[in-house]
Symmetry: C2
Subunit: 278 residues, 2 copies
């Protein structure tokens, strides 16, 4: 398999992994967001992922992947996953040997203002739940889409700069500017674990959720709920029945730790790059 | 989406559709053949499917797709699906307007001896359960792989000719030489049905299995078992609980109507080409 194929497989393995409390998984749909929307999203992401492996910029590849991902009826399925996967695919292709946090950091640090503009344009393809922008920079609200591009350009902000500004409020931005720390740690856990890869990924998801509150849960339900969800995830670790009950409860309450699922997908990609086989 | 993307999505929707008695589906694995093997098979098939849409011959595209599909640990996941999908993708690309049985027939009738050689080579990438060859043509046993190519060449047999020789014993070969009759009928059923596409595909699968005994079941368990399975499928139509029970029973007995699943995947592709959306 090529890095682009492994990234596409990572998207599919992520959604197939179960139980992944609060997320669509092999055994659970949300009300209007179903398993098949993620399958179509993974198929549609393929071209952008191949672009990332073929010398396109991070921004171009990401916007193409998001545009392809959005051609299904469920809305946003894998925007956050792709934000992590695109630079990781580029790092896997550009540097020899095992994919490292340093390789990934070199890719994201080399992003440009044009990449930032592509990132903002990507929000026009699909509705993404995001936190509010910094109070002192309302002109950089990602929800403005391409209307925010003149502000990016006048301030000379690269995509890395944009992620740095969001790192205190967004778990995926934190991965970008922090050497993909949680991604690589979860990849190590998947590599060291035994059994079918989706089962390993489900365990890695629960560990990630237990360790840190989820950005999307915080955005949609507030910090207190997010902290409680992480505590419940910690309690369910190592107890499959408890994890299943938590999955039922969170789906019933529409509490969706989507950022944790994004990092799980990125970790699956790194694990596949490091030799884990399905 | 492009035709190649729709074909890849059809592979994924097929395996996600449940209950699909006797087959891997969203809710069931077989002993050594699990859901994630089909996900990896669909990812690996992508390049061959894109070749089919980009002027490669049927044989070249099919061999590439099978080689890519086989890069996972479950063995044969989608050989038969790809045998139907590759000419259908070419037909969708080569002829304007709605994909028709006549378009598909024009593609398969134009196959060459070189396509037949590629088909035989494809058997070297993965173990495929097949019926015995015609008694008067042991030299054309597909299990011989590329060793059979001199016999193909000396007899001037195209891939269409090879399928014609197998049509009495193989449901997929029958689709090739019979205008993809069951594929298009099942596609019509999926188009006319309501609800999530995987649910429609599961109902189409049960109808197909009820209507005609499955080639793979006949090959592995004999004609009497295959006829019985079709009767049970007929009894379970329209009764979801009965279909679930049949799915449990067939998986427990390793009775795998895989050819019916192949036709379901092909029907999903035609339905997607005709405008069904996920």
């Amino acid at each position: 398999m090529t890095p682009a194929e492994r990234a596409q497989l990572a998207l599919l393995l992520e959604v197939a992994s179960t139980p992944k409390p609060g997320n669509v998984d092999r055994n659970r749909d949300l009300d209007d967001l179903r398993f098949e929307h993620f399958l179509a999203g993974a198929v549609g992401s393929g071209e952008g992922l191949r672009m990332a492996a073929n010398d396109a910029s991070v921004g171009e590849a990401f916007e193409c992947a998001v545009e392809g991902m959005s051609r299904q009826g469920g809305g946003n399925t894998q925007f956050g996953c792709l934000l992590l996967l695109v630079p990781l695919v580029k790092a896997a292709v550009e540097f020899d040997g095992a994919l490292t946090p340093e390789d990934a950091t070199r890719v994201v640090e080399s992003t440009t203002v044009a990449d930032a503009a592509d990132f903002y344009r990507s929000f026009e393809h699909v509705d993404v739940a995001v936190a509010d922008p910094p109070e002192d920079a309302p002109e950089l609200d990602v929800r403005r889409g391409s209307e925010a591009i003149p502000a990016l350009e006048s301030q000379g902000l690269t995509l890395y700069d944009v992620m740095e500004m969001g790192a205190d409020r967004d778990g995926n931005a934190r991965e970008w500017v922090g050497g993909f720390r949680r991604t690589f740690a979860a990849a190590d856990a998947i590599c060291d674990d035994d059994g079918p890869v989706p089962d390993r990924a489900a365990r890695a998801f629960l560990d990630l959720l237990a360790e840190e509150s989820d950005t999307l849960v915080t955005t949609q339900h507030g910090e207190e709920v997010a902290v409680a969800v992480s505590k419940w995830a910690a309690d369910a670790r190592g107890d499959e029945a408890a994890a299943e009950r938590l999955a039922e409860a969170l789906v019933a309450e529409s509490v969706n730790p989507g950022t944790t699922a994004d990092i799980t997908a990125a970790a699956l990609f790194v694990a596949l790059e490091r030799g884990v086989r399905v």
